[in-house]
Every structure is written in structure tokens, then in C-alpha cells.
């Protein structure tokens, strides 16, 4: 188990008196796409925010590359190679596309022009709009920007929170193609999604969450084929 990039061990998270995450454990290994699927309110985003240090577990531990993240403030977590694309994209709307990407590279000390080129070749749309203010981009472009921004920190683990949210089906396909491409080039990804069908189709492994617990786990294909998962999350 020592080669897990991310190890989440029996964490419990509370919002005030609400017990949001009830003792879940899972791992992400180098080069995998792991997906957490489940309905709205199952605790998927809470889990991500706990990993990135925005929330703190009452008990249990999160280790990244073999090191506990318990005492590390969120802005230091990024330096270690953990990047999160937050739910709802949250690009800096009044800053330009280029400035958003520069913010993504905030922790990087070396020259970032190569990384910028890489992101622009991955998302040519962003290059066309590099001097445009991010608030004027369409939803799909904002999602690309949020992903590009996270990639600028050269993450060892990329966490994506509902990348398909609010996007037209054609854009959802595009975004998932890009995620699959990133995976092929060796990126390790933790993907949180309500769109279980899409997420499982590209995932190495998946965990199904329900009201703060993990109820089922398996490879992407197994879960896609599972009768219980199909009934609950795939609409028949």
C-alpha cells in the first residue's frame, strides 16, 4: 500500500453537528483515474475539500505521497503537487485567461512559459482568448480554463470536482475526452462526478458514495455492468 499517491483512511467530517462523511477509506495509485460517484449530497465534494485541506476531518487521516496532510495548510498542499479544480469552476472572472493561468502557477518558481504552451496546446480555445477577461468566457471555456489553471501547478494528483456540471452534452464529451487524454499522458486523477455513466466509462476504478459512506467499489467496467449501480445511478 505504500505506493499509493493518495491514501484516505477512515475519515469522519462534520459540518457543525451534521455528520457529512462517515468513515470512508480509499486509495488512488500512480497513473489511475479514480472516480467518486453518487447523488447530490452524498459527500463527494466534501471529501475533495477535506483532501485539499479546506475542511478538516474530525478523525482519520489523509496522506499524500506517503506524508500526512493533517498539519499542512491548504496553500502548502498545492506546493506538494495536489491540485483541485473546484466545483463550479471558480475562475477569477475579472482577470484575463493568461492571468488565471499564472495564478495556477503561483507556487512554481521556475519559468512557466513551457507550461503555458502545454496548456494552450491542450486547450487551443484558451490561447485564442488569452487576453480576454475570464468572466466573458462560456461555461465550457471556463471549465477548460479551470482545468488548465490546475495543470499549471504541475500536479502529481489532479482532483476534478464535477467538471460536467452545467455543460451541454457535446461539451461534456469534449471535457471527458480531455480528461482521458491527460490520463493517457500519465496524469493521476481523482474525479468526482454525478454523471456516473461518463465518469465510469473512463475510470480505472470507482467508488460509489451514498449519504457519506462508500457503498460499492470496483473497476469502471464492473460498476458500469453492476445491476445495483445501473438502477440507482444510470437511470435503468
Amino acid at each position: 500500500m505504500s505506493d499509493a499517491v493518495l491514501n484516505v483512511e477512515n475519515i469522519n467530517v462534520y459540518y457543525g453537528s451534521i455528520h457529512a462523511i462517515k468513515g470512508i477509506s480509499f486509495d488512488v495509485y500512480d497513473g489511475e483515474i479514480v472516480t467518486l460517484i453518487g447523488a447530490n449530497g452524498a459527500g463527494k465534494s466534501t471529501t475533495l475539500n477535506t483532501i485539499s485541506g479546506l475542511l478538516h476531518p474530525a478523525t482519520g487521516s489523509v496522506s499524500f505521497l506517503g506524508e500526512s496532510l493533517a498539519k499542512i495548510p491548504p496553500h502548502k498542499v498545492v506546493e506538494r503537487g495536489l491540485a483541485q479544480v473546484p466545483e463550479g469552476r471558480r475562475v477569477f472572472a475579472q482577470m484575463t485567461v493568461q492571468e488565471n493561468l499564472e495564478m495556477g502557477a503561483y507556487t512554481q518558481t521556475q519559468n512557466i512559459s513551457d507550461d503555458l504552451e502545454k496548456v494552450y496546446s491542450l486547450f487551443p480555445r484558451l490561447k485564442e482568448r488569452m487576453n480576454q477577461v475570464a468572466g466573458t468566457l462560456s461555461g465550457g471555456e471556463q471549465q477548460m480554463l479551470a482545468m488548465g489553471r490546475a495543470l499549471m501547478s504541475r500536479p502529481k494528483l489532479l482532483m476534478l470536482d464535477e467538471p460536467s456540471m452545467g455543460l451541454a452534452p457535446i461539451l461534456v464529451e469534449q471535457i471527458f475526452d480531455i480528461i482521458a487524454d491527460l490520463h493517457r499522458t500519465g496524469a493521476t486523477i481523482l474525479l468526482v462526478e454525478q454523471n456516473a455513466q461518463m465518469a465510469l466509462s473512463i475510470a480505472s476504478r470507482g467508488y460509489v458514495m451514498e449519504t457519506g459512506k462508500i457503498v460499492t467499489t470496483g473497476t469502471g467496467q464492473e460498476l458500469l455492468a453492476s445491476e445495483a449501480v445501473r438502477k440507482a445511478y444510470l437511470g435503468g
Binding site: V78, Q94, G104, G135
Partner: protein
């Protein structure tokens, strides 16, 4: 020509308001709070400059640098001790704390330096430039004040738009959570904002008291409120707005004093503010909140 003289006095007073307003607007932009103790930091800066120059006979330039240093530390300390513990508290609690901090600074000044007014020595001579065969006279302090304001404005704008830290400040002002996910230390950024605002307040204090030489523990209160008004006038959170709002407020105030009534000048200033806010609720250069979903 007399009109031009009034106009220049207005721009000069407005420059001081603008420098103070920058502190209000930057702190509001990032910490989303109104730091009502900001005016009293001006007073502390003026006292430090006064003692350095009058008592210890430092050159005025050194006095201003010392005042900036003390105020920068004071601003960061106030933020760390009074406001940071309330980061998650409702905004009213923070507002009341800021008002309390304002009185705390005034009362401490009263204790340390007594209520006797001090006569502030101008940081430049009392001379003046004579233009148009002496018909237009611009005092040295007026010229210095206006130049200082222009320089501060240019440097600050470049800092905010071009530097890594300046961009981090803008990112924090938009979305602290997302900024944190970029690896930006939000607390350090807020602290930096207070440091810059308070350092500028010291400059404003030295300029203000050079032009209006009576220094008392309450000296910062009214200019503080006026500068806050200027920040709202220009659009709170906007740096060019603070600049424009400050200058306009200064000019309106001096014209009201000259042509309407010196007793009514403040009332006129606030009447104009109300009219502007009726027409443009976010202030002259304020951004209407708009978000794309």
C-alpha cells in the same frame, strides 16, 4: 484666476483623501470589511512624524519614513489581533470591532500625547511657487501633495496589475477559496494589504498635517470618514475609483466652502454623494456584481 486657485486647493485636499481612500478600498476589496480604524492610523503616523522632526530633529524625509514604518507595523498588528480572529464572524461584528479599534487608538493617543494640539511643522518649507506674475500661487506642500498622490497611484496600479503579489491580491479579492487552491497564502495577502494601506496612511498623515498643522488625537477621524466617503463615491473596491472619488470630493468641498458656505461644505459633499449613489449605486467606477453561471 481665483477659480483656478480654489481648484488647485481642491485637488490638493482631494489628493490626501485619495491616498487615505486607497487604504479603505484595498482592505475592503480583499477582506470585505470597512476598517474604520484607518483614519486613526493617519493620526498615529502624523504624531510619529511630528516627534521625529520636532523633538528628535530628524530631517522631515526621515520622519515620514519612520511614520510609514510604524504605521505599517501598526496596521498589520491591528489586523492580526483584532480582525483575523473574526474572519468567519458576521460582518456586523467586524464593523463594531473596527469602530472599537478606532476609539482605542484615539484614547491611547490621548494617554500618550495628551489632548493639547501640537503645531505640526510642514515637511517642506512654507514657501510657494508664483505663476502668472504672482496671480497664481501654489504652495510647496500643495505641489508635493499632488505629486505624491500621482506617484502613489501609478506605482500602486502597476503593482496590482503586473506583479505576482499584486495579482495574488486580485485573486484573493475575487475568491479566497479558489485563491487558496492556487497555493496563495490568503492570510499573508490580507496582512500585506493592511501593511500597504497603513503605510500610505502615514504619508497622508504627514501631508495632511503639513497643510493643516493642528495635530490632536482626533485629527484622523474626520479625514478618515471623508476618505471613506470618497472610496464609496468612486466605487468601493476600485483603486482608480478611490483616486477619482478622492479628487472629486476635495474639489467639491473646497468649491462649496468658497462659493456656498464654509459651514455647509460637508453637507454639500454628502448631498452630492447621495445623488451619485442614487444614479450609480455601485459608485462612479464600481463594478456591478455580474456573474456567469
Amino acid at each position: 484666476m481665483i477659480f483656478l486657485n480654489y481648484f488647485i486647493s481642491g485637488i490638493s485636499l482631494g489628493s490626501i483623501y485619495a491616498i487615505i481612500a486607497l487604504g479603505y478600498t484595498m482592505v475592503y476589496g480583499i477582506a470585505k470589511m470597512l476598517n474604520f480604524a484607518h483614519g486613526d492610523v493617519i493620526m498615529v503616523g502624523a504624531y510619529v512624524c511630528f516627534y521625529a522632526v520636532s523633538r528628535y530633529e530628524f530631517p522631515p524625509f526621515v520622519g515620514v519614513i519612520l511614520a510609514m514604518f510604524v504605521c505599517t507595523v501598526l496596521g498589520m498588528l491591528v489586523e492580526r489581533l483584532a480582525y483575523k480572529p473574526l474572519r468567519q464572524a458576521p460582518s456586523l461584528a467586524v464593523l463594531i470591532t473596527a469602530i472599537g479599534m478606532s476609539y482605542f487608538l484615539q484614547n491611547t493617543a490621548l494617554l500618550l500625547w495628551s489632548s493639547n494640539p501640537k503645531v505640526f511643522p510642514s515637511i517642506v518649507g512654507r514657501g510657494a511657487f508664483k505663476l502668472f506674475e504672482g496671480k497664481l500661487s501654489v504652495s510647496h506642500i500643495t505641489a508635493l501633495t499632488i505629486s505624491a498622490c500621482v506617484v502613489i497611484m501609478i506605482v500602486l496600479s502597476l503593482f496590482i496589475s503586473k506583479t505576482r503579489l499584486g495579482k495574488a491580491m486580485r485573486a484573493c479579492s475575487e475568491d479566497k477559496g479558489a485563491a487558496q487552491l492556487m497555493g496563495i497564502n490568503v492570510n499573508a495577502t490580507i496582512s500585506l494589504t493592511f501593511a500597504i494601506g497603513s503605510g500610505l496612511a502615514a504619508v497622508a498623515g504627514a501631508l495632511l498635517c503639513s497643510a493643516y498643522p493642528t495635530l490632536m488625537p482626533t485629527t484622523g477621524a474626520l479625514p478618515g470618514i471623508k476618505a471613506f466617503t470618497a472610496a464609496v463615491f468612486g466605487g468601493i473596491g476600485s483603486i482608480p475609483g478611490a483616486f477619482l472619488g478622492g479628487l472629486m470630493l476635495g474639489v467639491i468641498e473646497i468649491f462649496a466652502k468658497a462659493y456656498i458656505s464654509s459651514q455647509l461644505s460637508d453637507a454639500v459633499v454628502f448631498a452630492v454623494l447621495i445623488i451619485v449613489l442614487l444614479v450609480k449605486p455601485a459608485g462612479l467606477l464600481g463594478k456591478q456584481a455580474q456573474e456567469k453561471v
